[in-house]
């Protein structure tokens, strides 16, 4: 069941999008799409169906916090788990993400095991795995 889940990877650096995409694929989640910022992500989320969002925070046009807020106030999207994967390591940012409804928070640089653990933990918690 979880193998069919569709992921959206949001990051302004294509290198990081490719890394996350490959890691998800190695973890058994091969169905993924990418967006370079919050604006592009919202557009894809509203025009297509996704099960999981992995998002950076520091991005142009619309950052990860703004994207998270938009997702959580949209009735059709607010059920989506959003895992923040970011270099922002201030405690206040982590607390803010949690308060805004992020499903998890990973600081860069991270390992394959960390990403896999967090994704699986969130999916298990949501009953999707």
């Amino acid at each position: 069941m979880s193998k069919e889940l569709r992921f959206l990877i949001v990051d302004d650096f294509s290198t990081m999008r490719r890394i996350v995409r490959n890691l998800l694929k190695e973890s058994g989640y091969a169905d993924a799409d990418e967006a370079e910022d919050g604006v592009a992500a919202l557009q894809k989320l509203r025009n297509s169906s996704f099960d999981f969002v992995v998002s950076d925070i520091n991005m142009p046009n619309m950052n990860g916090f703004q994207l998270l807020a938009e997702i959580k106030k949209d009735d059709k999207l607010k059920h989506l788990p959003v895992l923040m994967v970011t270099a922002e390591a201030r405690k206040e940012d982590i607390v803010l993400a949690a308060q805004q409804g992020a499903a998890g928070y990973i600081v860069k640089p991270f390992t394959k095991a960390t990403l896999e653990d967090k994704v699986n933990h969130i999916l298990t918690k949501m009953g999707l795995k």
């Binding site: 270099a87 390591a89 201030r90 600081v107």
Partner: protein, 209 residues
């Protein structure tokens, strides 16, 4: 009317007086333009820029080192597979039945499978090492913004203090607004940041996550 003194004819006292006058003029100009506080900010940010550049050098160095180490190990595994392939090939040519019956072929298959897994792990590590592009890119963007801000303000200062007949309109500079903090370049010096994933997990756990 007395001639302006040439540099060689200036006394030490005169040099000091002129330096004092220049310093006062610069101080007054900065104050007049409301730049004094900005200069203080720059002074505070320049060491930060230095540590950010050091961070870039460190991170790129570590990434290069990691990639080269992983390539060395992957090549060793690859050499092992090549050597074993040659060896099993010779055994099969010599006596195909014995090669299978004695388990050489099966051992070879198991060996190749394990070596391939190790090579795949090394390739994953090489891929992960490329995350330096994202992390250093964010830091470089911050240093570039700082340099651009200082340049803009210095040009503004120059234009404002130039003789009247040399004045041109200053370009409208954009206010430097620090955005998100970006990668932690010196976590030990800042108690407000986390330095690894376990600290993130602890913080989230304390919030009930």
């Amino acid at each position: 009317m007395s001639e302006a003194p040439t540099p060689s004819s200036l006394t030490t006292v005169q040099v000091h007086q002129q330096l004092g006058a220049l310093t006062r003029q610069l101080h007054d100009s900065l104050n007049g333009l409301g730049l004094a506080e900005k200069v203080k900010d720059w002074a505070g940010e320049l060491p930060d820029a230095k540590s950010r550049l050091s961070y870039i050098a460190r991170l790129t160095g570590q990434a290069a080192e990691k990639v080269l180490n992983q390539v060395d190990q992957a090549k060793a595994q690859h050499d092992h597979i090549a050597a074993e392939t040659r060896r099993i090939g010779e055994l099969i040519v010599k006596d195909p039945v014995a090669a299978v019956a004695k388990g050489h072929v099966m051992n070879f298959i198991t060996d190749v499978e394990q070596a391939s897994k190790k090579v795949d792990d090394h390739l994953t590590e090489i891929m992960m090492a490329q995350d330096f592009h994202d992390l250093t890119g964010q830091v470089i963007a911050k240093v570039v913004t700082l340099a651009a801000t200082i340049e803009e303000q210095l040009v503004l200062l120059l234009l404002q203090t130039a003789p009247a007949d040399a004045k041109v309109n200053a370009p409208s500079g954009q206010e430097y607004v620090p955005a998100l903090a970006g990668p932690v370049v010196d976590g030990q010096a800042n108690q407000d940041v986390v330095t690894d994933q376990s600290q993130v997990d602890d913080l989230l756990a304390s919030l009930g996550f």
